[in-house]
């Protein structure tokens, strides 16, 4: 049974890679045949945010562009930013806009980028990452409202049914392995935050690994996304932090006064470094995974031979399998470290304890 499912999984993964491969080769033929294959450009093009969502071949989903300029808001479809041959063209709105590497820039009459004017344009578009995030939110709502309704109907004491039996062990895992050990008896109040963060990161990571339409957006490999999540942890830790937490930062008990003065700035820096490390860890892990898979596939084009795929494809499948593990592990680590930091801030110290 297990062997059979592994076999079908391998077939599916290989199938996905053939799709991947064919997309790149189409892009390759389209460019100048004499020109060298631009590895960095191809990889960065896949990991960065964009205003259109690639569907298949030459078809893309054009997402709306929403700009806030000094002449007011402006909404138009990103289809206006690409020409007949998929090259970026100038769109005439309040200003002449052009899409440069996925970012909207204001251009001068001669086609050069006007950096000064571009700074005044505030881009709040529904980009590929935002659309992918909406999809994740939709999935979360459908999944959890359905499961919650089932619990309301049958109660928590009867055996779970259907999708409930898939979700329940994961929720129990988050509660027993993450919340309870680090938050103690006050864990219940933080469960909604921990569960949301865990499932949001996990689903986004998994969608990022799907190489075609409903996935393919590198959401959790976007530093703005991870920064927002880390900011939530930062706010919760510092708002919920009790007197003992602040005392341990500014006036560490049980130390000589000289050391207390010396430690305060270091501890204060630690308050900010904790969420920053959360942010960088998730961002770098997911981005590194995407870059790794892409560069292995790009090996075929660097060596310009099909023979290279004999090495590149099995390696890429191997890395992909590891990425599935990493997708879960990073969601777990982010949630666990959030719980750990919150737990450290709300912990009640008993006076007279040795430090």
């Amino acid at each position: 049974m297990c062997k059979k499912s592994i076999k079908s999984l391998l077939v599916a993964v290989f199938g996905v890679f053939i799709l991947f491969y064919s997309n790149i080769s189409v892009a390759q033929e389209h460019g100048d045949a004499q020109k060298d294959f631009d590895v960095t450009g191809t990889i960065l093009n896949h990991i960065r945010d964009d205003h259109s969502w690639h569907l298949w071949g030459h078809t893309s989903l054009h997402l709306p562009v929403i700009l806030k300029t000094d002449k007011g808001f402006e909404v138009f479809s990103s289809a206006g930013l690409v020409g007949e041959h998929h090259e970026p063209v100038v769109y005439q709105g309040n200003y002449p806009y052009k899409s440069v590497e996925g970012k909207i820039k204001v251009v001068n009459a001669d086609g050069t980028i006007d950096e000064e004017a571009s700074k005044k344009v505030f881009d709040i578009s529904i980009t590929k990452n935002v659309a992918s995030m909406f999809l994740t939110v939709f999935l979360l709502i459908v999944m959890f409202l359905g499961v919650a309704r089932a619990y309301r109907k049958t109660g928590v004491t009867s055996a779970p049914k259907g999708f409930q039996s898939f979700i329940e062990p994961i929720i129990i895992f988050v509660r027993d392995e993450i919340a309870k050990p680090y938050l103690g008896h006050k864990y219940a109040g933080y469960m909604p935050f921990l569960l949301t963060v865990f499932f949001f990161i996990w689903i986004n990571n998994m969608l990022g690994l799907v190489p075609f339409f409903p996935g393919a957006a590198n959401v959790s490999g976007n530093i703005a996304f991870t920064m927002t999540l880390a900011l939530f942890t930062f706010v919760i830790v510092n708002v919920k932090g009790n007197g003992d937490y602040w005392k341990h930062i500014f006036w560490m008990p049980g130390l000589p006064v000289v050391m207390k003065v010396f430690l305060a700035p270091i501890e204060l820096l630690g308050v900010f470094i904790k969420p920053i490390s959360l942010m960088i860890r998730l961002f770098a892990n997911i981005t590194a995974g995407h870059i790794l898979v892409m560069s292995l596939i790009c090996l075929i084009f660097i060596f310009k031979s099909v023979a290279a795929s004999a090495v590149a494809v099995p390696f890429a499948v191997f890395i992909y399998a590891i990425e599935f593990l990493v997708a879960f592990l990073q969601a777990f680590i982010f949630t666990m470290l959030s719980a750990l930091y919150i737990g450290m801030a709300i912990e009640e110290h008993h006076h007279g304890d040795a430090h």
Binding site: P181, S277, I280, R281, A284, F332, M336, L337
Partner: protein, 70 residues
């Protein structure tokens, strides 16, 4: 070109550091589990925390290399 090479060397050095660090953590954890198999779950959780902390430092370096490259 030279800038790119130096950044790549930096990323490589960071990978060496993380490799040694995570290797040590894995060694410690496996030894601990071999001595006391009933503590395997606690050891595994702590191993993952420690590995994540070591890895974060290496990833800082990789991000700096990436920025230096671009």
């Amino acid at each position: 070109m030279v800038v790119g090479s130096v950044a790549a060397i930096g990323a490589g050095l960071a990978a060496i550091g993380a490799g040694i660090g995570i290797g040590q953590i894995g060694k410690g954890a496996v030894e601990g589990i071999a001595r006391q198999p009933e503590a395997a779950n606690d050891i595994r959780t702590n191993m993952i925390i420690a590995a994540a902390l070591v890895e974060a430092v290496a990833l800082f370096a990789v991000v700096v290399s990436l920025l230096g490259n671009g």
